[in-house]
Subunit: 143 residues, 4 copies
């Protein structure tokens, strides 16, 4: 499996991300781009994306970015996640770009930027996040 | 509205929390207890609660704990959230206990503990979180 | 070496903590109390303890709390540190209480509370912190 | 005072940073570069820079970056600081680059990268940090 197949498989096997409607826009070793389109189940009472939706997308994108940077048979699971909410997540979709900052045999660190999708090129960054992940043996995913 | 009515109203008005099936177990000024029962839309591929579900519950519990500690007409919105995942969130439900650490006129800090619900008294703590929130004027919630 | 001897030895061998004048008040497996008395080299321009002094004390207390909870021959090194500054660190001394939240074979998590030392029993908490640490083989300290 | 004068004045007035030997390499609105040369008072027992020295430098660089982006008469004070230690801070000096991520009327967020200074262009990043800061009225600094 290449990076994109791996991330698509894991995303489809993850109830939380599948229910959210997560789209894998891009995945290469150490770098992923994931997208969530707006829908009521992801929102705050004010109509913006909820902090938990932003955090969940960032977490999943970080795990995917780290896992694709690891040798086959290893995955990265989140140890801690820090999210800074910079601006209302009020786009028609939000898009997370995750990038590995360090990869070790036991620990990976990934930084994530989350953008409000915009019609023009000026997509505004609505959150940044840092995830620390631990490297573990990959479980078998049901076919 | 007292604290419990306020938290129930906000939770019901929040698509993300309502879709997740959030139950307000307890709410008093500066302290809230919220609960999520297990269901597929909240899980990792391994059957545990997803980090985004844990983070979302912690975030909402923190916002509710801070808001109930503020004067009427003010609410607290999350500026940043830090979650440490201590153990698999593998309970039949997870329960977040949020408690205000400091309340100011512009900033609140809330600590959260998340437990796996267990049949006996030995509920295991699966995550801890700290949220920094900003105090803003409350918007009107649609009746 | 027992926990207290270990923490005193490591603290004395650490230039940053020794220069700061760190006092080991208490050390038992998984729990440490460290103290810094006020002096100009630790302060902000406003006369309060600098955020770096608070963070350094919290970091060292966390490392000591985790290391004393590990088997002999292992130490814990900080992977990430999150500090919330709750109130001015304006005591005549600051005192950090660190307590292990989880201990694993590769990762430990420690929570820290930092207090302004007060003449009476009402010491105010000026910061809280969470540290994630990695377990590694202990280096030899020069005798 | 321009940005560089402001940062130099605040750094000189701050006992912790002055004792550490902080050098202001660059300062412009929203962006600062600060440097610490190695000396025993800043080190771990293993001879690397201590986590508290790294955190203190990152904190000060973040505060300076935010303050220079604010209107005259306002300063930014750290509410919380999150540091990820990516690699040993084993340079002959460490250099922090701080950059404002968002500036508001009450809250600023700043990201920081800390590098081990190297003889060649390949300086390695040893830490990244995110600071959340609160905007307050500037106190008068003693001339």
């Amino acid at each position: 499996m290449n990076a994109e197949q791996l991330v698509k498989t894991v995303t489809a096997a993850t109830g939380f991300m599948r229910a959210a409607g997560t789209e894998v826009v891009q995945a290469e070793p150490g770098h992923t781009v994931l997208r969530l389109a707006k829908k009521p189940e992801l929102l705050q009472f004010n109509g913006y994306f909820h902090g938990g939706a932003v955090a969940g997308l960032a977490d999943h994108a970080a795990g995917a970015a780290a896992t694709t940077a690891l040798p086959a048979g290893k995955i990265a699971v989140t140890v801690d996640l820090h999210v800074n909410y910079l601006a209302p997540a009020n786009g028609a979709a939000i898009v997370a770009h995750a990038k590995v900052a360090s990869v070790g045999s036991t620990i990976c660190v990934v930084t994530v930027e989350v953008f409000n999708e915009a019609a023009d090129a000026q997509a505004a960054r609505c959150a940044i996040a840092t995830a620390t992940l631990r490297v573990v043996d990959a479980p078998k995913l049901a076919g």
